[in-house]
Structure formats: C-alpha cells, structure tokens
C-alpha cells in the first residue's frame, strides 16, 4: 500500500486560515489502512483544526467527507454537489488523490494534509516499512523475494557493503541489512548460486528515468 503521515498541524493551519468553509476529505484506501487519512483521521484533524483556530479567535466551517477512493475520477465525481459550498479542499489522501482533486476542480484550492511516504507493508500493528520503489523492472525473482533497491540504503545490487553488522544496516540498528536477509533466504531456498551472478547496471527508464510513467491497456482504455 501507499503509506502516509499527517503533516504538522501548524503547517495545515496556515493552509486553511484564509478560508471560511473547507472540505476535509479522507480516502478509504491505503491511507485508511495506515491510519493517516481515513474517516477517523478526518474527524481528528477537523477537531484539531477547529480548536487551534478557535484559540486564535477565528472560526472555520469544516465539512468532513471520506471518499471510497480519491485517485479515481468516478469517485471524485461524487463531490460535485459539495464543491460550490466550500472555499477550499484539504485532502487526507496520498499525493495521487490530491492531484486528482486539483485536476477535477479547477477553481478550488487543494491542499495536502498528509505527507505521502512510501510503498510498504505492515510489519506489525502500527508499524509500516518500505518494500518497493516501483523501479518498473522487478528483480525479486533473483533476490529471494527481498528487494535491494527499496531495502538497501545504498541500493547495492551485488551484495552487502562493508558496513553490514550483525544483520543490521550501517545507517542504524533499526534497519535490517537487505543483503543479509537476501542471503539467508537464498540459503533457505538452496539458491546460493544466485548471489554469485553479477547483476549488471540497472536500466532506470522503467523506474522513471525516462520521465513520468503511464500504463495504457489497449483493451480497457477508452
């Protein structure tokens, strides 16, 4: 999923301060799962913004709403009846959602309420960790199902650097050494020989090196 974290309240207050009525918009997808921008977080943020503004003597009307998915035009269309009644939109979705709103509602200022972080998985309750960088040319089949691009701090593709210690990365004991994990996994699979193969320099074009990416499925595209 795409993970996110709420921005500092101070920054968000400055965004909304000039407005009388805003729409605070959550998303039911990834940001709900990582507890950053779902219905509940919309409520919490609305309340916090209310109070913070009240303290400085101003009031604001915050309409709360959460869409099934903010990154799809058909769901965003649902907002049409609400838009005229508000001066601005603050989105709690990832950057994709924010941009979809900006595209659809030309005259409305749109502000992000969260910082979109990374594509990750839930390690345990309340902990999410990066797993994929969308390089566009998946090599997990060669590395035992553990990605060195996303999980090695130096994106090394041919084994651990000289800073790997006791299974940890040199940047911190709270970070696993991706190559220590890969090696353990290759051993479990009896695929040690995979390590010996030199992985050649990566072509970064599928990973964004050739500009913004797009997928067109001819059979589905209208």
């Amino acid at each position: 999923m795409i993970t996110a974290e709420r921005k500092p309240l101070e920054e968000l207050i400055e965004y909304v301060r000039p407005f009388k009525r805003i729409l605070l918009l959550g998303c039911n997808e990834c940001v709900t799962v990582c507890a950053a921008g779902g219905r509940k977080e919309v409520g919490l943020l609305a309340s916090g913004l209310h109070m913070a503004l009240l303290k400085s003597g101003s009031t604001i009307e915050i309409r709360e709403h959460t869409l099934e998915r903010q990154c799809d035009p058909e769901y965003v269309e649902e907002l049409v009846p609400m838009i005229d009644g508000v001066d601005a939109i603050m989105s709690m979705a990832c950057g994709c959602g924010v941009q979809e709103l900006a595209r659809r509602f030309k005259g409305k200022p749109v502000f992000p309420a969260v910082n979109t972080k990374f594509m990750g998985a839930s390690e345990r309750q309340g902990v999410w960790a990066e797993r994929c960088q969308g390089c566009g040319d998946c090599l997990l089949g060669k590395t035992g199902g553990i990605c060195p691009i996303a999980r090695c701090a130096k994106q090394l593709m041919n084994g651990p650097c000289g800073g790997s210690t006791g299974g940890h990365c040199e940047i911190g004991d709270d970070v696993d050494c991706a190559w220590a994990l890969i090696w353990e996994r290759l051993k479990e699979l009896g695929q040690e020989e995979r390590f010996v193969e030199i992985m050649p320099a990566k072509d970064w074009r599928p990973g964004g090196g050739s500009g913004p990416r797009k997928i067109i499925r001819e059979d589905l595209a209208e």
Binding site: A153, K154, Q155, L156, M157, N158, G159, P160, C161, G162, G163, S164, T165, G166, G167, E170, I171, G172, C177, W179, A180, W183, F195, V196, I198, M199, P200, A201, K202, W204
Partner: protein, 307 residues
Amino acid sequence: MKTDSRLEKVLAAGHLAVTSECGPPRGAQPDKVREKGRYLHGIVDAVNVTDNQTAMVRMSSLAASVLLKQEGLNPLYQLVTRDRNRLAMQADILGAYSLGIDTMLCLSGDHTKFGDHPMAMNVHDIDSIQLIQMVKAMRDEGIFQGGAEIKGAPKMFIGAAANPFADPFELRVLRLAKKIAAGADFIQTQCIFNVDKFEKWMEGVCARGLHKKCYILAGVTPIKSLGAARYMKTRVPGMDVPQEIVDRMASVPKEKQPEEGINICIETIERLKKVEGVAGFHIMAIDWEEKVKEIVERAGLLPRPQV
C-alpha cells in the same frame, strides 16, 4: 601489463606494494594537498585520494589527484557511486586519465547519513561492482555504458575495496570473487586489527585461487590514542578492533600512546607479510601522513623499488 600504472608495475614485478592515503582538504587549499603529498614522496607507490570521505564535502578527488601528480606522486583516484550518476562518472574518468591518472579505486561510499550533508540524495545509479565493470569496459572494450565507442579509451588500473570484517562473514569471500569477476585488478582491504579473522578470510580467498587473479593489499592503520581505538571499536560500522588492542593502548601513558599505535601497526604488517596472498600494504594514517615514512621504514619496506 594492462596499464601504465606504477602500482601495477610494482605488483607485477612481485614486490610488496605500499600505498597510503591523502584526504583532500575541506576548502580550496591546494597547498594542504601538496603538504600531505610531501610526507609521502618516495615512500609509497601510490597515494589514495579519497572522494568526499565519510560523506563530507571536500576538494574533489580528481583535482587533488592532479595536484599530487604535479608533485611527482602517483595518485590512486577514488570514486564513489554515491555522488554521481554514470554519465558524470564516465566523464570524470576520461578527465582523470587525460590528466595523467591511471590508477583508481571503485567504491560505493559511506552513506550520506554519516556526513555533513545528510539532506543530500544518495545517487547510487550503479553500485561499486557495476562501476568496476564500467571502468573495465571503458578500458578493454573502449565503450561507454551506452554502447558507443570511446575515442581514446582510459587505461585505468582498477582497484576495489574489501572488508573481511563485515557481516555476513560467509559472503565476504564471495563478494570479493564478484569484484574480481567484474574486473578488479587489485584490492585494498579495510583496516586490519583482528589478524586472526583476516587470516581466516584469506584462507577462503586462497582456497578459491582469488589471490592469483588479483593483488590483495592488506589495510593497516596506526592508532593515535586510546580514544581512537575505542571509537573505532564501537562507532565505526564494519570495523573489528579486538579488546587486546584497546587494552594495549590503555596500558601505556597518554603521551606514549601514539608510539604504541605505530608499534602495533608495524607488528601487524610483519605478521601480515607471512599470510599467503598478501601482495602489499595500504597504510591509512588518517591525518597522520607524517608518520607513514617511519612505519614503512621500520617495516622494512624502504626503499621503494624502481620499476
């Protein structure tokens, strides 16, 4: 001979090679480079010039290498993949070779987290092994990464680093093998304090015959003080400083500690000379270049062979 590198000539002639290090200054101070160079003139076969070491901005390794070259030394130009993409690296390699640099070391570099620009992007377009492949392809096939022919291929003697003390230990020989397969002509190791562990690693290296495919220079560092010993033991990732070394530094008064550090270093070299596969020494006297001469001399490695 693959190159005109003096280091290659010394090694090919079967001499124990000696290299040392010069960290460029954190400012436009060419005299500092020349000053460090003077301590090493005639003492070592090549001088490593670090590339933004510990991820701190310094004078470029290319410029400092050229300054040393002008002083009559043989620079060993270090290049890390952290700060440049493959276009910039290839351009710098062409530039370096055009300015008379024929020996280089391919590294991935310390993470920016450790330096003074932790906010900077780590580039890592390619990794150190892919850098070795790239330099080799430039030299032997005369082609760029993009496939185009190079008019005037840079004939670099290609070095790489190895750390026998990092984890997982069982990968350390395999990773060396990959570097050699990629095209490394010589290797400089991480500072060796735990000679037992180094010997164990070298057994694995020799068992695979890797010492015959590549020259291995054993890295050593004179410890300046008890504090430095403790720091390296606990704070530097991938360093293995046994407790005996720390205890030995602690056993002498503070003013005698530098001397003790040098004694340990020389004893280590003597022991390493007996290890099969060791082709020379890389003496990393960090900000202590003035002591390199004493170490090389007392280790019986002077005068340097004329090749």
